[in-house]
């Protein structure tokens, strides 16, 4: 019985192997499409693609022109809509100030040891993930090099070497205009950093409490079922710089909601947690808890990566603010009022 089963299995295996070997070595090539047909089809495909690209570029340019035009005629039509209540406006601008100071004092702190490592310690016989270095060669020429994952990038003028307030190129991890204090001064940078870290935490707790109590969170930030359904369309709209007009501007779109929720409930808490994780005192709360994040030096690296992510968020945020009508958006975050262009007015 067992022998027969083995035989059948063996036979099948042989058949499969035979057909495989035929596919690889045997058989012959059959010309399915002649050369003229192939040429015709390819040229058509390329032509159509070029046409589409042209149209996309045209629409993008048109949109950009519209955006630029909108700079000159903000608030001339439509009606004012109260979009941002006072507490949200105050907390928004406090956050702008606090995060700017935290970033700049943080870069001053990072300058004291301008290398990021992965793992529990910095000295494991493994090179850093990222390292900023300034060098001076025999001829007295100064240059900055940033090494990321073993690759050197020339970063003279920004990282490693940059022009100070006197205009002379000097060896410095980060340019002086990007650090608080302007001079490398670890003790003072730490004072700034921790003081404003406390304010950021207070502001964050206030915001989350306010948003929960006032239902700002549920009404304005949590995506609705409809939002989720519009996700794909919203992504396409964003890529084409097509933005909601008319009544739709009274609500955040789904990408906006997700971005804000991501920053408020993921990036900022992670940032604070990684900051606390670098504290030798808090590490003792539950010895080894920072190993969840692969150890203290990884925690320090994540703290920096999250900072970069926040910078990226701010860049996209400011970009969207500009392309969707800078003055209208900016004013609404100061006075609270956003001018809604009624559909009839819209071109």
């Amino acid at each position: 019985m067992a022998g027969r089963i083995n035989e059948t299995i063996g036979g099948r295996l042989r058949k499969v192997l035979k057909s495989l070997s035929r596919a690889v070595s045997g058989g012959y090539a059959y010309c399915r499409y002649s050369l003229p047909v192939r040429l015709k089809r390819w040229s058509k495909a390329v032509f159509v693609a070029a046409l589409r690209m042209g149209r996309i570029i045209e629409t993008l340019c048109g949109r950009l022109v519209k955006v630029l035009k909108s700079f000159g005629r903000a608030g001339s039509r439509g009606y004012p809509y109260y979009r941002h209540p006072l507490p949200v406006r105050i907390m928004h601008w406090s956050n702008v100030l606090f995060l700017a100071i935290l970033l700049m004092s943080g870069l001053n702190i990072l300058s004291a040891h301008p290398a990021l490592n992965w793992g529990k310690s910095s000295y494991r016989g493994v090179p850093p993930v990222m390292e900023i270095r300034g060098r001076e060669n025999d001829r007295g020429e100064i240059s900055g090099v940033t090494r990321i994952l073993g690759h050197d990038f020339p970063t003279t003028g920004f990282l490693g070497a940059s022009r100070g307030p006197d205009g002379a190129l000097t060896i410095r991890e980060f340019p002086s205009w990007l650090t608080i204090p302007g001079d490398l001064w670890l003790a003072m940078a730490r004072q700034w950093h921790f003081f404003f870290a406390w304010l950021l935490v207070v502001n964050g707790v206030a915001f989350v409490t306010y948003s929960a109590v006032s239902r700002h969170l549920r009404h304005d930030l949590v995506p609705t079922r409809q939002d989720w359904r519009s996700l794909g369309r919203t992504i396409v709209d964003h890529m084409r710089f097509r933005h909601p007009t008319g009544e739709a501007v009274k609500h955040y779109n789904v990408l906006q909601k997700l971005a804000y929720l991501g920053v408020i409930f993921f990036l900022l808490p992670l940032m604070i947690l990684m900051g606390l994780g670098m504290s030798p005192a808090l590490d003792a709360l539950h010895p080894g808890w920072i190993d969840i994040f692969f150890g203290r030096q990884s925690v320090r690296t994540i703290h920096f990566v999250v900072a970069l992510s926040l910078v990226l968020f701010v860049m996209v945020h400011v970009f969207e603010v500009i392309v969707t009508g800078f003055w209208n958006n900016f004013r609404s975050m100061i006075t609270g009022y956003y001018r809604v262009e009624s559909e009839a007015d819209h071109e």
Binding site: K120, G125, P280, R300
Partner: protein, 258 residues
């Protein structure tokens, strides 16, 4: 409302925006230079100190590591060999003549040789050293429990801080010796030791021979190297710069828990 009016308002906003960003960029240094602003910033340090003492239990232990986590070479920072003739003479003799003095607010002042310190109850711990600059290194330390030493000298009731006076001068002219201070809560913590061994060998000079403090729940600059004398005090405001440590006198936090 006329068009001009709006333009002015917009101009005002632009000026406001420019003003805010400029004041963030340039004004910070001016604020740093005032006498009052750093004091305001100092409130953050006080809040951190209070909050961490509140949250972290007194006897919470710092993380300890395994032999595989040890740094191949334990980084030396700050002084690598004290520029002090008395110290150099002691080092040349293998610290045979070294005596640790314990004085101040104690009932029984003590002078201990290295051999006597080695006879005190000891502790061996593999811990991570976190420098204020940002780097960490892991080493295995063996040393006398500070609590045992303090019990032997009997603290007076008004004793509040342990001051560590060191052999390494921080100025080139040989003045301004390194010093540090810790409170009794940290002094009696089980992981607070006066280390005489690193990675199973006598403490190297660049890491603070013959004796250095290990204070595992704070940053590296608190862990004084080349300790010569312990002074138990009620208040450190009249020692050196009055801030309780060499780096504290340069503006660093006395409580270095973060």
């Amino acid at each position: 409302m006329s068009n001009d009016d709006k333009l002015t308002r917009r101009g005002l906003m632009a000026r406001l925006l420019a003003g805010v960003s400029l004041s963030v960029l340039g004004g910070c240094d001016r604020l740093t230079g005032t006498s009052w602003f750093p004091r305001v910033l100092g409130l953050g340090e006080k809040a951190t100190h209070k909050a961490q003492r509140l949250v972290v239990p007194r006897k919470a232990m710092a993380q300890e590591f395994l032999a595989i986590d040890l740094s191949p070479q334990f980084r030396s920072n700050g002084t690598s060999i004290p520029d002090n003739p008395t110290y150099r003479a002691l080092a040349a003799d293998g610290f045979a003549g070294y005596r640790l003095e314990v004085g101040g607010l104690v009932e029984r002042p003590l002078t201990l040789s290295l051999a006597e310190i080695r006879k005190l109850p000891s502790r061996t711990q593999t811990t991570r050293h976190d420098c204020v600059e940002g780097w960490s290194a892991i080493g295995e330390w063996k040393g006398a429990r500070l609590s045992a030493l303090l019990e032997a000298v009997h603290l007076k009731p008004n004793a509040r801080y342990i001051v560590f006076l060191c052999a390494d001068p921080m100025e080139e002219d040989g003045t301004s010796p390194y010093y540090e201070s810790i409170d009794l809560e940290d002094a009696f913590h089980p992981q607070t030791i006066l280390a005489y061994e690193l990675n199973g060998t006598p403490l190297p000079i660049e890491n603070g021979a013959p004796l250095r403090l290990r204070l595992e729940r704070q940053l590296g600059y608190k862990m004084a190297k080349y300790v010569m004398r312990l002074e138990i005090v009620e208040d450190f405001s009249r020692i050196a710069g009055g801030k309780g440590g060499y780096w504290e006198d340069q503006g660093y936090e006395w409580y270095a828990g973060i």
